[in-house]
């Protein structure tokens, strides 16, 4: 019997069908599955009691009150603390990876000093404090020899640093933020305290520049308030309008986006004021007449349209809509939460004053400062108003002598300042740079001495009245976990060193300082560490004026005809203090970072004008430096504007953030605001090649 084709097929088919009835195939598949999943190292999950503890996270741009979940004492997850008024629930995307950041490869494991060869060697805390004390003793009482900069404007830790600087006869600064312009604005208007906005009781919120849903003010709180005003499936209670050059997260969430050219927020507000004054709006401020004259003569619809790009009819419609609302509020700030100066806030305050919305529910509030815990410290508003960028610009220009010692607390000035190339060099000119950083950031990488601060989960922490909230408040937290590394709270270091130098700040430990702060504010410490926030319902009495004379100098019409830079900031990319967290890398859009190339965004009309297309590699040049970037076409950008993300181009940190993209801060041009003398950098122009 021969094997013909039919017999062959029958045999093969019979074999295949038959094999399905044996366990061999299935066992092999099962084994293949197991073999394919053999990996060299299998991480073991940690089991144990799951606990929850309230904490105040300071990873994000603003303090975030959250509940930290731990297993066997190790934090692994966070969620918002809805019971805490400071952030009202929810977490920001940096704080969401807070427990993982505790284990970041960028953590500094212990105190280190730089050797003569430029490398770092570990030293004991005793030696580190001795070295610091020696350096400080040499400059004590000598003006200009010591500078202190803090990246945390809400913590009492900064108050300790301020008191210490005062005892040393030195200056203490804060890293630049929108709060600086607001403090200068309030001072110009004759007010004292801190500007805040009662968004939850407003029925019409106009954000001018301020990217409230991603970088401006208490972001998580803003988002929660926004959410509460529009319950899912129900009617909208509050209308949100965003005015700015880029369709950012706030503009996307708002009911309307009004494209406004970068750096012209004050002109936009005064353009609104023009229509309101024309409709008969007035206020009882002493310089109302001057203000009216200024607005009617210099901010007519045609001039405003030329500067901002907003047509007169649209401006009139917005003004009408605001005036029709029963509880409107206007909030001004920079699109990237820094560098706007005072004019924008004064102009927005002017609109609020014309609306009669100052110190009213749902309006602009002037909040009292909480009592100081450290008597020698400067008042919060005085501290905030100091111009660190101006100080460094003076050093860079050779007009001011570089300090012999500079102390940077939770601040990364080598990376995060505008006109970065020049100002980072000014920081490095310090004779002895000390970094109190948790992470090996750019400033720590240049420091002569690194004294690592534990993360906010490993130390006592507090937060008072973050800029932008509508009421004075205080929150605090106790450590959630044991310190992982050989770190020491900076407050304890400073108190110890101060004592050795004969400076009595009144306390012996960090937790004693925080408890005293709570006590002086009238808050219950135990409630605070359990997760509640102390909230004061008082506001500053007394009237404010329009600061017309300041406005007339500070607001200048742009020349036009140039390509403007519109930087934007997203918490996914980290903050000025924390680089891109490892968990956030995959969240970044491929239209913002492609491989190692930074993407900047222009609309198709601008792209055509510039002769670029999607993916084109170009070089942006500003007054402070150059950046090589790629182009992404996005119709959510104004004509003649390049939107560029901040937060990239790190040179230190770890593989998750280092060497990715470019630091757009290099392109930001620092100027001086007439009338206030503040350093400003929201109006930067670039050339493209």
């Amino acid at each position: 019997m021969g094997i013909d084709r039919r017999t062959f097929i029958q045999l093969v088919t019979g074999g295949v069908v038959g094999s399905l009835f044996t366990p061999v195939i299935w066992k092999s598949l099962d084994d293949a599955a197991i073999w394919s999943q053999n990996w060299s190292w299998i991480p073991r999950l940690k089991y144990g009691a799951i606990t929850e503890q309230a904490s105040v996270a300071k990873f994000g741009a603003a303090p975030c009150a959250e509940i930290v979940k731990s297993v066997g004492g190790s934090p692994y997850l966070t969620r918002g603390n809805a019971e805490n008024e400071m952030s009202k629930g929810g977490v920001d995307p940096v704080s969401a990876s807070g427990p993982q950041l505790m284990y970041s490869p960028s953590r500094v494991n212990g105190p280190m000093k730089k050797t003569a060869e430029g490398k770092y060697e570990s030293i004991s805390w005793e030696d580190a404090e001795k070295l610091l004390s020696e350096k400080l003793a040499a400059v004590k009482g000598q003006k200009g020899k010591l500078a202190v900069v803090s990246g945390d404007s809400t913590g009492t830790a900064t108050e300790v640093l301020s008191g210490f600087a005062a005892g040393m006869g030195a200056e203490c600064y804060l890293m630049p933020s929108d709060e600086q312009g607001a403090a200068a604005a309030l001072a110009s208007m004759g007010g004292k305290g801190q500007i805040g906005y009662d968004l939850e009781n407003s029925d019409f919120v106009l954000f001018v520049g301020a990217d409230a849903m991603d970088s401006w003010g208490p972001v998580v709180r803003n988002q929660c308030v926004y959410s509460a005003s529009r319950p899912t499936g129900e009617e909208i209670k509050t209308t949100y309008v965003y005015a700015g050059p880029f369709l950012n997260c706030t503009a996307a969430a708002a009911d309307k986006w009004v494209p406004v050219a970068p750096g012209t927020g004050a002109i936009f507000c005064l353009g609104l004021a023009y229509h309101m004054l024309k409709a008969g709006a007035s206020a009882s401020a002493s310089d109302f007449a001057d203000f009216k004259t200024l607005v009617m003569s210099r901010f007519s619809p045609d001039k405003v349209e030329k500067a901002t790009g907003v047509a007169g009819a649209e401006m009139a419609a917005i003004a009408k809509r605001i005036m029709k609302s029963s509880a409107p509020v206007v909030v001004a700030g920079s699109e990237f939460a820094q560098g706007a100066g005072a004019a924008d806030v004064i102009a927005a305050a002017a609109v609020n004053m014309l609306l009669g919305r100052v110190n009213k529910d749902g309006g602009m509030k002037i909040l009292p400062e909480l009592p100081k815990a450290v008597d020698a410290a400067e008042g919060h508003s005085e501290l905030v108003a100091k111009d660190f960028v101006g100080y460094l610009a003076g050093i860079a220009a050779g007009k001011v002598a570089a300090p012999e010692v500079m102390m940077a607390y939770e601040a990364n000035p080598v990376y995060a300042l505008p006109q970065n190339t020049a100002l980072a060099q000014a920081v490095e000119k310090s004779g002895f740079l000390v970094s109190f950083s948790t992470f090996m950031d750019e400033t720590a990488s240049k420091a002569d001495l690194i004294m690592p601060n534990p993360t906010c989960y490993e130390r006592f922490e507090d937060a008072q009245t973050p800029y932008g909230v509508g009421a004075a408040m205080l929150a605090a937290s106790a450590p959630v976990a044991e310190p992982l590394y050989n770190s020491k709270p900076t407050v304890d270091v400073v108190l110890g060193v101060a004592s050795g130098l004969g400076i009595d700040l009144g306390y012996e430990s960090a937790d004693a300082v925080y408890q005293a702060k709570a006590e002086k504010a009238g808050a219950d410490w135990d409630s605070l560490v359990e997760g509640a926030a102390y909230v004061s319902d008082s506001t500053e009495s007394g009237s404010i004026k329009f600061a017309a004379s300041v406005l007339s100098k500070a607001v200048a019409m742009p020349k036009g005809g140039e390509i403007a830079l519109a930087p934007y900031s997203k918490l996914i990319f980290g903050t000025p203090t924390v680089a891109i967290p490892p968990m956030n890398v995959v969240v970044i859009s491929k239209y913002e970072l492609l491989g190692k190339d930074l993407m900047v965004q222009v609309n198709s009309k601008t792209a055509k004008k510039l002769g670029v297309s999607e993916g084109s590699k170009v070089k942006l040049a500003g007054a402070g430096g150059e950046c090589a970037v790629r182009i992404h076409i996005n119709e959510g950008v104004m004509n003649d504007v390049i939107a560029a993300p901040l937060g990239f181009g790190h040179t230190a940190w770890d593989a998750y953030s280092s060497g990715k993209g470019e630091n757009i801060s290099k392109l930001l041009t620092v100027g001086t605001e007439s009338g206030t003398g503040l350093s400003v950098w929201t109006s930067s122009f670039v050339s493209i090649a």
Binding site: A33, P75, V91, M213, V220, C224, K570, V585, S589
Partner: protein, 252 residues
């Protein structure tokens, strides 16, 4: 195709108009489900993001451009395309409130399910997961770690359902009739704008029971009949139109 119906149907409703695209849900999902960090995030074909926030736009030129953000977990379809194509039955739709499960040790990495899923909600682990610098000490005890070579996906943080049921049993309640809010996925818990609602759509006491009936509620690619358990709500016509692969020139 016959649809399996269960007494409980866990359903997510996302208010697209409230999502600001902040990304907190994506980060929180990674932390809860032990998704290892990746150094290279641009290669979206190889990254793992069980929850993914898409950016939508209305297609118009400046100044008429509008943007919306659409968070996309696994849709836990009523007629899941991924289940019948799995040769080793590593994925099933079962009685856990209609959640489509994924059994990692059984998966042979053939990726048929990924090819079948119209929502691109399934992810293949191309790379060995690495938790650097002791970051493995911050692993969640809820979710097993997975090696490379298997397909993984969102499971509505299923272990939280187990925890909620255990709590109900300990408090003398019916574990199959959980009160609203007792079972919340990590993405919902993190979301600052409250864009995500979650619950049993068959339980009239749960908020989602009414939300899915909202005139602005819709499901993605509804016309292909997957019957997803994730609903979206938007007041904007263009957002709803894009949900079903709407092409402007098409007549509907």
């Amino acid at each position: 195709m016959q649809q399996m119906e269960f007494d409980t149907k866990w359903t997510m409703v996302v208010d697209v108009d409230k999502c600001t695209g902040c990304g907190a849900c994506m980060v929180s999902c990674q932390a809860e489900n032990n998704i290892a960090p990746m150094e290279e995030g641009s290669n979206k074909l190889k990254t793992l993001t069980w929850m993914l926030v898409y950016e939508l736009n209305n297609g118009k030129e400046f100044p008429n451009r509008e943007v919306a953000y659409l968070p996309r977990p696994c849709m836990q379809c009523g007629h899941p395309a991924c289940v019948p194509v799995c040769p080793v039955v590593a994925t099933t739709k079962d009685e856990e409130g209609g959640i489509v499960s994924q059994i990692y040790p059984r998966c042979i990495g053939c990726r048929y399910c990924m090819a079948a899923c119209p929502y691109h909600a399934r992810y293949f682990g191309w790379l060995d997961p690495v938790w650097p610098g002791g970051m493995d000490k911050a692993l969640s005890p809820s979710t097993s770690t997975r090696p490379r070579g298997v397909v993984e996906k969102c499971n509505f943080c299923h272990t939280r359902l187990m925890d909620a049921r255990a709590r109900a049993r300990s408090e003398g309640l019916d574990p199959n009739k959980l009160p609203d809010g007792w079972y919340q996925p990590a993405c919902l818990e993190a979301c600052p704008t409250g864009a995500i609602s979650f619950g049993d759509v068959k339980n009239p006491e749960h908020k989602v029971h009414e939300l899915v009936k909202n005139p602005n509620a819709f499901r993605i690619l509804e016309s292909i009949g997957m019957d997803p358990q994730v609903y979206y709500i938007s007041r904007r016509d263009w957002v709803r139109e894009q949900s079903d692969n709407h092409v402007a020139e098409d007549k509907h």
